[in-house]
């Protein structure tokens, strides 16, 4: 059975054809690769292909199917799509709404100011919350005219990455 991998905006079919120690034969979409793949340190792979030496560093994401993969040229977000994931993806299709309605912090930090209150009408460009991390303050602004539905944090509070701070209506 082949797997699908989503790498940034590309989704490819990947299939292991044979494997003997480091030596791997596999296909990515229609391309066959005969490779020497070895893990050097935890998460660090060396791949030799046609004499070329590639290094890929992996960091596991939220689930064991998600990765950030760093290569010489750039860094990619990747996700292995197995049958279960595929099913979930299909089921969620069209029902998902993200962003816009929720203001979350892209990094850990401390809430220094919340110049709005619940029920308030805010206009596009208006600052909703100020978070400080590493001596730098970031202002999070409304992208359209909205109503503040819920404020989930207090001034002085510490927030984690992706923690939702404000909900808009």
């Amino acid at each position: 059975m082949a797997y699908e991998i989503k790498l940034e905006h590309r989704t490819a079919r990947i299939e292991l054809l044979n494997r003997a120690g480091n030596k791997v034969l596999l296909a990515v979409d229609d391309l066959k690769y005969e490779l020497d793949v070895v893990m050097l340190e935890k998460g660090i792979y060396s791949i030799l292909y046609n004499g070329h030496s590639y290094n890929v560093e992996l960091i596991e994401g939220a689930s064991n199917r998600e990765y950030i993969a760093n290569t010489f040229a750039r860094s990619f977000v990747a996700e292995i799509i197995d049958a279960e994931t595929k099913y979930l993806h299909n089921r969620l299709q069209g029902t998902e709404h993200k962003g816009e309605n929720e203001i979350s912090s892209p990094m850990p930090g401390k809430v220094v100011k919340i110049p709005v209150s619940v029920g308030e009408n805010v206009t596009a460009g208006q600052t909703l919350i100020v978070v400080e991390a590493m001596k730098m303050q970031s202002e999070f602004k409304a992208t359209a005219d909205r109503i503040v539905k819920e404020i989930l944090v207090n001034e002085g509070e510490t927030v984690n990455t992706h923690q939702i701070m404000i909900k808009l209506g």
Binding site: I5, Y45, R65, M107, M134
Partner: protein
Amino acid sequence: MIRKVLIANRGEIAIRVMRSCRELGLVTVGVYSEADRKSMHVRYAEEAYFIGPAPSKESYLNIDNIIEAAKKSGADAIHPGYGFLSENAAFSDRCKQEGIIFIGPSAYCIATMGDKIMARQTMTKAGIPVVPGTTEKITDENMALEIAGQIGFPLMIKASAGGGGKGMRLVRDYHDMLPSFRTAKSEAMNAFGNDSVYIEKYIESPHHIEFQILADRQGNVIHLFERECSIQRRHQKVIEETPSPLMTPELRNEMGKFAIAAAKAVNYEGAGTIEFIVSDALEYYFLEMNTRLQVEHPITERVVGVDLVKEQINIANGLPLTFRQEELRQNGHAIQCRIYAEDPDHDFMPQPGVVTHITVPLGLGVRYDGYVYEGYEIPMHYDPLISKLISWGKTRPESIARMRRALYEYKITGVKTNIKFLERIMDIPDFIEGKYNTHFIEKNNDRLFTPKLCGTEYEDMAMIACFIDYLDKIEKVQPRKFTDGLASTWKDFGRKRSVLRL
């Protein structure tokens, strides 16, 4: 003579200072906040004392707690590093009162140079060119308009107590003057508790060039040449180099003399930096003096061959400078890149977090000053500076080539950094030709924020690594029989193909 030094700082600079102390045979004392128990400087120091909660105000800026740690440890000197209390006149004074040697200048020097208006006055009196503008603080809005008229637009409104771009406004025409004046004043009040502002002529296409100086108690003052610091993002330096590509021997000589005069004007003692603003036409003006060690001091150390921290300690011991101006020369070329935990693609947003893996660049001509290690969590409370990478070359092109190589070798996973962004700078023609000013990043925006195009080759390799890792992972959890069958050699490939099912 100093024998035990408390380093009132954290991060890379704490370790850098401790290294020189260790080489001098001095005992090192570290201090740490609640967020820094696992920080490298606590490991590196021979002694370490707790000084309070994570916020700087309650620990690294808490004078009482630091003095207490110094007394408990029996330290006879304090090195403040940069930032935190390094330019705090009250702290310098307090050390003196407590009979502890402050490795830095007197409270008088710090106070005079810390107040931008007072510094402008002092320099003007000493005959040093300052940016045309006011030498008094401006309070009155009518006065502000009048002076703006005299100086002409564009102009800058700056906070007297300023720094880091706060309370600073560029005004391009008359009708923006009053609103800018008001916001500058209120920003200054918020940031520094002091709404003094002054007005300066705005220098178009400015270069930031600074001179390193050393002054002993005997009144000897020398300069250790210039550093070019024009590559900045958000008014913070990103890349520095020495010699400056802009410099001529005559200009260096002239500016060096003024730098010495500036230090003498305040009876300076220790290591300091005179910052100049230089126009494309090579007109230069005193901008400010930093009365401490600078983040970018290593490039001077490399090219001039002097350990600046050791010189600071030597001076603090009351000893005269060990060399004269004529003995110093610039050997080759050095560049420093500042590595920040930040996301250049999202407005350089800081990125605290856990460092999962790190590969440090090494070898000929590379110096690395850092403090993070694998498994270390970079706290959100302090500066995003992870490390400084310094390359040296016989020539400027060699130094650039070496920095490019070092950046290629440098790998950090777990937190986002500006490494790739710095790599891109090394390839920008303006940088390679040494033709740049403080507008460099703005000007080269297109090339700096577009990730390198790469073939599907790298995409495929990334996918393959994820795939193999994933297979091995699920194999470990639910081992199926197929691995046995695969433990054969490569030769069997033809025969075995497609026998396997996953």
